[in-house]
């Protein structure tokens, strides 16, 4: 006989809408185990319908993303010391968070189980509030200590490389200035060269990135090397990193800065130190060539304009002479007229 799940107050009308687990259990031991497991997770009620739909949707979302890049991509690849500590902390917290979510939600599911003749909860013994608060406090403090340890480590300035590259003072990090502007990043290197959008850094060299902004707040965002930081106008904030390997990291800014925000990319190109030196030297040369070209064109146009000015002056002179001549002619005509008039009057 099917068991109808009757509320203890006799008001439950959902009994015939939910699966009859007892009858299903008779069908076989294998399915019985599965059912028993399901019963632990999903107590007998109508609620699992929405739960099933939602879980299925979410599982679908994660399953369809099973590309190699997605698999276990909880964290960015650590390409600089300090990032690895952040990744470890995230893994620890991920496990803690997942445990908290699962425990709390299983407790809620258990609390929401329908009341039947078989299930009649009795007021159990409650934990003492003080003990509970102390326990939670210890938990929070432990998390704080763990987070502080890992955060401190991740914020440490990486060890300075022994062999300085061009533009680097020995024992000091290589200073590069990154300036955010709507909607590009500009990078100024020690040899007075600069580049837009693409930052070139040497591998194995500790870099001090001075973040600035010329207009609005921009979000510096390179997860593999530095993580995020705000570039704020009127203020310089320092970021330190040391790229381990040559490679290229492409990311985008992370703070809404206007219409071009979605295309405000940051590309960090890590090169071996000698190639880096050659690259920024070439950059400097190219800038010099471009500068010379601009200068030459400017001079050419100025000369041209000077010629034009001289011609204009000449033309003005000629025009003045012509005017004078015209005036003279006019005067002579007038004089002639006067003379003629005087002769007429005579």
């Amino acid at each position: 006989m099917a068991v109808r799940f009757v509320d203890r107050r006799g008001l439950n009308d959902v009994g015939n809408l939910i699966p009859d687990w007892k009858r299903m259990r008779r069908r076989g031991a294998a399915s019985a185990t599965a059912i028993r497991m399901a019963r632990v997770l999903l107590p007998r009620s109508r609620k699992p319908v929405s739960l099933f739909i939602s879980l299925a949707g979410v599982l679908l979302a994660f399953a369809l993303n099973a590309s190699p890049a997605m698999a276990l991509s909880l964290n960015p690849d650590a390409a600089s010391p300090g990032i690895e500590e952040g990744n470890t902390l995230h893994w620890i917290l991920f496990v803690v968070i997942l445990a908290v979510i699962v425990i709390v939600n299983l407790a809620i599911l258990r609390a929401a189980r329908p009341r039947t003749r078989a299930v009649s909860p009795k007021p159990g013994k409650k934990l003492s509030q003080v003990k509970l608060a102390v326990g939670l406090g210890v938990f929070a403090l432990a998390l704080f200590i763990v987070a502080t340890v890992f955060s401190d480590k991740s914020r440490e300035i990486p060890a300075i490389n022994a062999e300085p590259v061009a533009g680097q003072v020995k024992g000091q990090p290589l200073e590069i200035r990154a300036t955010g502007q709507q909607w590009l990043w500009r990078f100024d290197y020690p040899n007075a060269s600069f580049s837009y959008r693409r930052l070139i850094v040497p591998a194995g060299v500790t870099v001090q990135l001075n973040l600035e902004s010329t207009d609005v707040v921009h979000g510096w965002n390179v997860p593999e090397l530095t993580g995020k930081a705000q570039a704020i106008p009127g203020r310089t904030s320092e970021l330190y990193f040391r790229a381990d390997e040559p490679g290229t990291y492409t990311n985008r800014s992370s703070m809404l800065s206007g219409q071009g925000y979605d295309t405000m990319e940051i590309e960090v190109m890590v090169l071996p130190p000698d190639e880096y030196e050659a690259a920024i030297e070439e950059l400097r040369k190219n800038i010099q060539i471009a500068q010379d070209k601009v200068e030459a064109e400017f001079q050419a146009s100025r000369e041209k304009s000077e010629d034009a000015a001289a011609q204009a002056e000449e033309a003005e002179k000629t025009a003045g002479e012509a005017e004078e001549a015209a005036n003279e002619a006019e005067t002579s005509v007038a004089e002639a007229n006067n003379e003629a008039e005087s002769t007429d009057s005579e």
């Binding site: 609620k47 929405s50 739960l51 739909i53 939602s54 949707g57 979410v58 679908l60 979302a61 369809l64 993303n65 590309s67 991509s73 964290n75 960015p76 902390l89 995230h90 917290l93 991920f94 979510i101 709390v104 939600n105 809620i108 258990r110 929401a112 909860p121 009795k122 007021p123 409650k126 934990l127 509030q129 509970l132 608060a133 939670l136 938990f139 929070a140 403090l141 998390l143 987070a147 502080t148 955060s151 991740s154 973040l211 207009d215 609005v216 995020k228 930081a229 704020i232 106008p233 009127g234 203020r235 904030s237 985008r252 800014s253 992370s254 703070m255 809404l256 219409q259 925000y261 979605d262």
Partner: protein
Amino acid sequence: MSRTTSYPQTMPPTRPEVSSTGPQEERSRWAALASSADHKDISRILICSAFGSLFLAALELLLMRVQLAVPSNVFLKGVTFDRLLSVYGETAIFLVALPLIIGLLYYVVPLQIGARTTSIPRVGQIGLWLFIFGGILLYASFLFTPPEAGINPLPPFSDATFAPNNGVDVWIGSTGLITLGLLLISIDLLTTLHNLRAPGMAWRRAPLFTWASAIVTWLFVVIAPIFLAAITMLLIDRLYDGGFFAGDSGGSPILWQHLTYLFFTGVYMSVSITFLAAIGEIVQTFTGRELPRKAIVWSMVAIAIVGTLAWTQNMLTAPIGSGWKYFGMLMSLALIVPFGLIFYNLISTVSQSDFHMRAPLRFALGALSLASIGLAAEIAQSTIAVATQLSQTYDAWASTHFALVGFVVFGGFAAVSYWYPKMTGHELNEDRAMKSFGLMFAGAIIAILPLFGAGVAGQVTDSYRWFSGEDFGVFNAIAAVGTLILFVGIILAVGNLIKSRSEEPVATPDPYRGDSLEWLALSPPPAHNFDVLPDVRSTRPMRDIREAVTRRDSVDAEAGSAAQPVA
């Protein structure tokens, strides 16, 4: 609680208990409602506009999610997306969350403390109209230029140089009017709480929701002026060439972040406190058991203070001193204690009790479930090393949205369906409520959970498109489907609130056998709330009144007189 035995027993109210229904209305209903300074009318307008705005916010979110569903989508232009984003953020905070909590508190709390009116009702009325004009201003701006500088328009991006059109001015004006209005209503509620409690309603006997209202209104009185000051400074910067937030003239753009994040964090905590207390009331009523008051009240106080002090948790990537950052981290992690205590007490009380599952309780458990995911995920967001990676990504977005959708939407429907019979005088259709709950719950999970995946893969928020080169997979597409489901669920749930008023049977004053005094008033309560001011002798005054009436009736029956109907 054995407190009832240590005090003299409550006297039964004199007869007739509750009989009048207030003076006959002479004006048409809308005119009466618009000119009313009654706290119930004001709250009804606030709650109705909150649900109307919830529809708008869900629609805006849906449009944005559709735009982001596939890479390089051309459904919306960039500027349209920015406008929707800015208006969505303001709607969700200032037109849904805040009016909903203030409206619920302002409706229920005067009834719970046995007050016949509020202390300074005209102040509440001014507050309502400021709120209404703020809301109208925001949506009227679609006729000219809606705000487009993001959910929190950070200077200098919101300065006149970089946002020369009127969008930010609209944002300042509407948030200012709304905050000022709700601040005035809070002040009215606060003075009522301190002056008009019924005889015997000491603070130690005040219901949880009343305690929450005291905490939330005090908190709002502290944080709202800070926000008003911040937007005034921005207005001066914009219109009169001030330099509060300009880096080159002695001001600081960081100052804006400190001031506004203090306010927004305080709002987050107010929302959490209010709905945890509402869920507490629901749990107490349906399980018939009392929660440990001291623990819950102190936890709510701790959430208000510690949680608001955790504002630098939002600024872990900003160039501020490390001390600020560790302080923010410590305060956010310390929140585990009060939230954990409240969650434990709520869930264990439900778990150990016998009850009949009704719509308010189901929404309440759904709210706890979603909020637990969001609050747990905030743990990662509040540690410095992880926040430098995950802040401003969809991981942060999903954490906040789980907590706020859990509390505001599910907690909101829980609270409103719980007090629905009291507010409208009709029962709520349980069947439709359960169905809409299922849709909304599935929708919320599908809409938000996948975005954790997109967030850890590095998708940044506020951008109107992403490109196929960025490997965010189908998280966004699934989230768009989920948002659609959530949207449909919200429409059904709001539709149920509207339909039940005309279709469902008339509700009795005390349909759930509640313990607090709002159930003594008629449903809906008359303008003066109570004919007889109740006499409070314990934390469960309504139960005392029921028992007193039963005692009196049995005495009457023994005396042979006819039993009078009891209100």
